[in-house]
Amino acid sequence: MIEPTPPPFVLPYTRVVAQEGLKKALEIAYVSPSVGGVLATGRRGTAKSTTVRAFARMVFGDLPVTLPIGATDDRVVGGWNIDKLLQGTSTWMPGLIEEAGGEGRTGVLYIDEINLLEDHLVNIILDAAATGILTVQRDGVSRRNVAVWFNLVGTMNPEEGGLRPQLLDRFGLVVWVDSAGSAGERAEILTTVLEFERLLTGPPDQLRAAYTADGQRRGRLDAARERVPAVVVPEKAATMAGAIAAEFSLEGHRGELAMLRAARAIAAIAGAAEVNAAHLAEAAPLTLVHRRGTSESGTLRRWSAEDDAIVARATSAAG
């Protein structure tokens, strides 16, 4: 078996330039895992994977458990250890879902290029993510009600086709990732990346120092995560969330629940004692962009200023 040389030195999260939307979504999902998974969609070369891996390294100290293209279902849900089986011993080998979400695990399963994954594998994963239960019936093995708890993080390039609306709805947060706009920002990305690559070949203490800010950021997020249960969600906020959901004609309650959970995480990160309209307005694009009027093709409609106006109108009417 080939293993990478630990630890994985990827660009420190705090040095990732721009990507504010994706960063916010990842932080919300970390502070309040019940909000559901994160899907980042954007064109090629917009540093989606880099940001996700940098975030995982910051908060978990390692790269996330990653589901690769070409994975077979025995590695996703688990299967016999074939090395042992060839020697006559039957040993169960947990799959990637358990590796990510089993007891004592990091709780993140990362799927790069999720729209290139075969549909039946996506279905298995989303079922487990939504129910928190993994059931395996294969190769003469019956494992029922294995508790798994993980947040799904997916990245995709919409040029290769979208995800079905049913799958989109399973993600708590969806974020558009755009290329850096200005020449100055692009130049800053270059100097940051190249400077980090130079550090990789330099003295180890300089490299370690590059992660100092990451440690501080993680500390703030951990503190926010502890604060979340104490953040009050006033009845007025729930009414506003309901009004926003009604304005967007959302079906079911998954959208407004995700919005409230995300707003509470935003409040916890900001150090606020209770959720207010501003937190809801910040949470709305991430939690509703994929739940309002998406076409059957799975093509997402971008969040617009008009959508922001609808949120503002609903919150002021309800408030």
């Binding site: 070409g70 290769e160 200005s182």
Partner: protein, 593 residues
């Protein structure tokens, strides 16, 4: 400092940069002679130094060879793309446009990634990708590739001119006996770059973004240019990356209109024998020493991309210049969802032809997926038969290949634009296009006699993704020209139909050749084949067309129809003669005289 004057310089330079920095490991050589890529891979391996493993990937490689394989004890083992510390992997793709879907998907997720994992058949392998990917592709095919895939190959070189400009008679004679070394391009001796990476100044970083282009340019392109500039600076023994290094890197990577070159920089004149070798057709000499001037950015003036014409016979004397980044053109039409596993066809028939895209349980020993079957049986060998028992495969172990579905119907449409001057052919075509749509037929388009043609005397062939392909609409809007190389068009149509019948599981009676013409060919076949304007034509164009058309009658189980225009003012019998020669029929609009 690395040179960038000739195509050989640029290829040697980019490979040297890639040897220095594995992050520059996605290199696409456009129009490279296919026999050269192996030698370039060896040269790259020698430049990197140390143990190297060169793997060639193509149409046959599926997930079961790339990610996981079986060792001598039948246990799963890492596949061809898994990397081991201390050994450099060089993945070679001789034709990216024809590589298996599994190969292109693997390239997309591995090139430039921080980490890689393989999880198949009970095996988990993880490694840090440091492989260099060397791919070649005809420039005309590149625009059909997924932009997502092309993005991974941020380093591009137009390699059509790579070859030996002067062949001596002695070398040619030696080549007859298999000694081809003298015909290979003379690359310099490998000279690896050494030294710490240079520091990029803010000025150089800004220059990189300016050279690469506007805000829509992918970041990987910025990074590729910046890293190449850093390697160039190392080759120049400079501690910092300066503007001249960025310019030289831009020349290596073929960014157009990058800059004038500082006069102080040593430079050889471009070889007059290879005007396309510089990859920079807008560069001009510096106005005065030290001038560093940014000219037109690369992206906004990217020239229109020629459509993917499979030109028959010898090409024009001067091949049209192809852009290095065809996916940037608004006219580029890549295959839709080209990296996704295709959806299953509705008729449910299993095919044993077509690229392998996976394995699935099967109760029948047909089209067996050997690795998956053997691994499945190996799992239970000891349990079923005891220690030391030979491997026995049960029916329940059988796995068969899952194959990419292929069309089982074909439409070859020959459009003679000169016959459509005042005739909207859409209504006449509708039944055939409707049939092709419902049958999901493979569609080929042969065009003759239009003003957009590269050569007026020759027919053009395009393979469409289906009848909804925008190229078909574009073809129906073309303006007619004067020449009608009908014989050449029919010759091409026959070739195309044969290829479709041979390469696809086309059912009998499910192949249509539809010829839209008034049968008034005016270009003899030989004139088309030589691409030389004939001195006199007389009836040669018509007679050649009728002679060639007789070949259609020999195509087995192909249905043929000539769609003739409603107004036939001259030579009214010609469409019927043509249809007779093809053993087909003529269809004309209702009420036509």
């Amino acid at each position: 400092m690395l040179r960038a004057d000739t195509v050989t310089d640029r290829i040697a330079g980019t490979l040297t940069c890639a040897a220095f920095d594995h992050r520059l490991g996605g290199i696409l050589l456009l129009d490279l002679r296919p026999d050269l890529i192996g030698g370039l891979a060896s040269w790259l391996a020698a430049t990197i130094g140390g143990p190297a493993r060169i793997v060639t990937l193509g149409a046959d490689d599926g997930d079961d060879t790339l990610w996981v394989t079986a060792d001598a004890g039948l246990a799963p083992a890492p596949g061809r793309l898994a990397e081991s510390p201390g050994t450099t992997l060089i993945a070679v793709i001789p034709d990216l446009a024809r590589a298996n879907l599994a190969v292109t998907r693997a390239a997309t997720v591995l090139i430039g990634a921080d980490g890689a994992v393989a999880d198949r058949h009970g095996l988990h392998a993880a490694w840090r990708p440091r492989a260099r990917w060397l791919a070649a592709c005809p420039a005309a095919d590149a625009e059909r590739l997924s932009p997502h895939l092309l993005d991974r190959f941020a380093v591009r070189v137009a390699a059509a001119d790579l070859g030996t400009p002067a062949r001596t008679p002695a070398e040619l004679v030696a080549a007859l006996d298999g000694h081809t070394t003298g015909l290979l391009p003379a690359l310099p001796d490998p000279a690896p770059l050494t030294g710490p990476p240079a520091v990029m100044t803010a000025e150089a970083a800004t220059l990189v973004t300016t050279v690469v282009g506007g805000p829509a340019a992918p970041h990987r392109r910025d990074l590729a240019l910046a890293r190449a500039a850093r390697a160039v600076a190392v080759s120049d023994r400079s501690a910092t990356v300066e503007a001249r290094h960025v310019h030289r890197a831009a020349e290596l990577l073929g960014f157009r209109g990058t800059s004038t070159r500082p006069a102080a920089a040593p430079a050889r004149p471009a070889s007059p024998a290879h005007p396309a070798a510089t990859g920079d057709d807008t560069a001009t000499p510096p106005a005065r020493p030290g001038d560093v001037e940014i000219r037109t950015p690369a992206r906004p003036d990217t020239p229109p991309v020629p459509t993917s014409v499979l030109a028959p016979g010898p090409g024009p004397a001067t091949a049209p210049r192809q852009p290095l980044y065809p996916e940037d053109s608004p006219d580029a039409m890549p295959d839709f969802a080209g990296l996704r596993v295709p959806w299953q066809r509705a008729d449910g028939r299993r095919s044993t032809r077509g690229p392998i895209i996976g394995a699935e349980p099967s109760g029948r020993p047909v089209d067996i997926a050997y690795l998956a079957t053997v691994l499945e049986a190996a799992k239970f060998r000891r349990v079923r038969h005891g220690a030391g028992a030979p491997l026995r495969i049960h029916v329940s172990d059988l796995r068969s290949n899952r194959r990419q579905p292929q069309p089982d119907a074909a439409l070859v449409l020959l459009l003679d634009h000169t016959s459509r001057r005042d005739w909207d052919v859409t209504a006449a075509l509708a039944p055939y296009l409707g049939w092709a749509y419902t049958r999901r037929a493979a569609v080929s388009l042969i065009e003759i006699g239009h003003r957009d043609a590269d050569s007026e005397l020759q027919a053009e062939r395009r393979r469409l993704s289906g009848v909804l392909d925008p190229l078909l609409n574009a073809a129906l809007d073309r303006a007619p020209a004067r020449a009608t190389p009908l014989a050449h068009g029919l010759d091409l149509a026959i070739q195309e139909m044969r290829l479709r019948r041979r390469n696809l599981p086309v059912r009998d009676g499910e192949a249509w050749l539809v010829v839209v013409t008034d049968a008034r060919g005016n270009v003899p076949l030989e004139a088309s084949q030589r691409n030389v304007m004939p001195r006199s034509v007389s009836r040669a164009g018509i007679d050649d067309a009728l002679t060639v058309a007789a070949g259609v009658a020999g195509l087995r189980a192909v249905r043929t129809v000539v769609l003739a225009p409603p107004e036939l003012s001259h030579y009214r019998d010609l469409p019927f003669a043509l249809a007779d020669a093809m053993a087909g029929m003529v269809a004309r609009p209702d009420g036509a005289p």
